[in-house]
Amino acid sequence: MGLTFRRLIIWVVIIVTGILLNTTYLWANEPDSAKSKLDTTEKKETLKPGDIIFEHIGDSYDWPIVSFKDKIISIPLLVIVYSKTTGFGIFFSSKLEHGHKAYKGFEIAEEGKYKGKLVEKLQDGSIQKPFDISITKNVLSLLISFALMLWMFISMARKYSKYPNEAPKGMQSMLEPLVIFVRDEIAIPSIGKDRYEKFMPYLLTVFFFIWINNMMGLIPIFPGGANVSGNITITMILALITFVITLFSSNKFYWVHLVNTPGVPWWLKLPVPLMPFIEFSSNIVIRPFVLMIRLFANITAGHINVLSFIMLIFIFGAMNPIAGFSFTPVSIAFVVFIYFIELLVAFIQAFVFTLLSALYFGMAKEQGHH
């Protein structure tokens, strides 16, 4: 009796949270859909869900909060550009009016190679891309996540020095198992008990960076919602740093292993260096590349999934309002389901990236004893 009642309560809570999450998501989604509707009225009522989704998971110069009819409320962000002709330009993106207006010769390209990016229109009418280090939505989200990490872990460290040898309290007790998890389940088994310590700071930073950004990406309103850990630039840099650390911590055996793999027949190495080629491409090219693609694809796919199910409502709604309304519960149920999977994926991807990094470090540090 008690068990079934508890289960009932759990289901009610899950459904209510799901609905809440999704209503907020719809709100965050609103500007794009509203804008797209604006666009579609101009372009004869054609809904372009693909464009909306890509706009959502991509970067932007302002941070949309909500829009109603043709009024868009968004947080203006700082644009920092350097152009060879006019020098530095620092201004708020509100000056650009969501891409409708040019400011000091800078405007957001509506199509072409630089679509969505800030470009400078030269006097002869040609377009030039300036050096652009604007605080975009992704950059701001990145900085917020870094600030969050600094605050979380420095305050946690301070607690340790304040109350040494005491049971953890508050956030410390939530983060400590994760730190121990990274140490005991990732670093020690893959690198080895006597060498893991040197890599712990990087592994912990990467683990929490990916996890926190994945989770923030799932929050539909302001501090979250940006697709940071599903951005190829971010995953590329993470993969590159892992790669560089691997190279710098590699020892002689690692390179011997690459060039002259032990335990492989000689004819795979000598006339045609097949094995060295495979080893090199695996270690130098494929591993970092796969590391980059995996995180990017998983997180972006999650965002696309959620957005697609929400877009289904508008696709059906564009065909027939009744169809749109009646499909809403189905769509929301799917989104709730995906959301729970995404919560899991957020952790799993952080875990996988950290684990693989640790494995690569472990291989680079391995001694020739096999």
Partner: protein, 164 residues
């Protein structure tokens, strides 16, 4: 496609901020946290080991105590037994001594009584002798006042003495 082309602005911010955050966290967060965790684990391990040691010691102590207690009990029993023996012996000795003493007293009393008795008898004898002499004197004085009487008496006495 915009989705898979790296963005230089984001790349710049990511590298700069990631490295800064990494080094700050490394110095002010990860090192203290990892060290604190390690120290705590060590201290817990030490405490557990200490507890085990103390437990063992306690057990040993308890065993020692038990042993001591048993020894003390045996000692006590022995002491009690000895005391009892001693008591019996003392009583016995005292009894013997008292008996001896009593015997001696009785003996001495008896000898002194004997002596007294002898002395008394002797005295009585002396007295009787003196008295009889006095009486005899008086009698003789009376009886032998006349010659006849004297000769009668001598005859009588001579008659009494029978020569055998």
């Amino acid at each position: 496609m915009g989705l898979i082309t790296p963005d230089p602005g984001l790349l710049f911010w990511m590298i700069v901020s990631f490295l800064i955050v990494f080094f700050i966290l490394k110095k002010y967060a990860w090192k203290p946290i990892i060290n604190a965790l390690k120290n705590r684990e060590k201290s817990i391990e030490n405490a557990l080991r200490q507890a085990d040691k103390v437990k063992l010691e306690m057990e040993k102590l308890q065993a020692d105590n038990q042993k001591l207690l048993a020894e003390a009990r045996v000692e006590r029993d022995k002491l009690l037994k000895e005391a009892r023996l001693m008591k019996d012996k003392i009583i016995e000795e005292a009894k013997g001594q008292a008996q001896d003493e009593a015997k001696k007293l009785v003996e001495s009393a008896r000898t002194s009584i004997q002596n007294e008795k002898k002395a008394a008898i002797k005295e009585i004898k002396d007295m009787v002798a003196v008295l009889s002499i006095q009486i005899a004197e008086k009698l003789i004085k009376d009886k032998l006042s006349s010659n006849t009487n004297q000769s009668d008496y001598i005859d009588k006495l001579l008659n009494e003495i029978k020569l055998n």
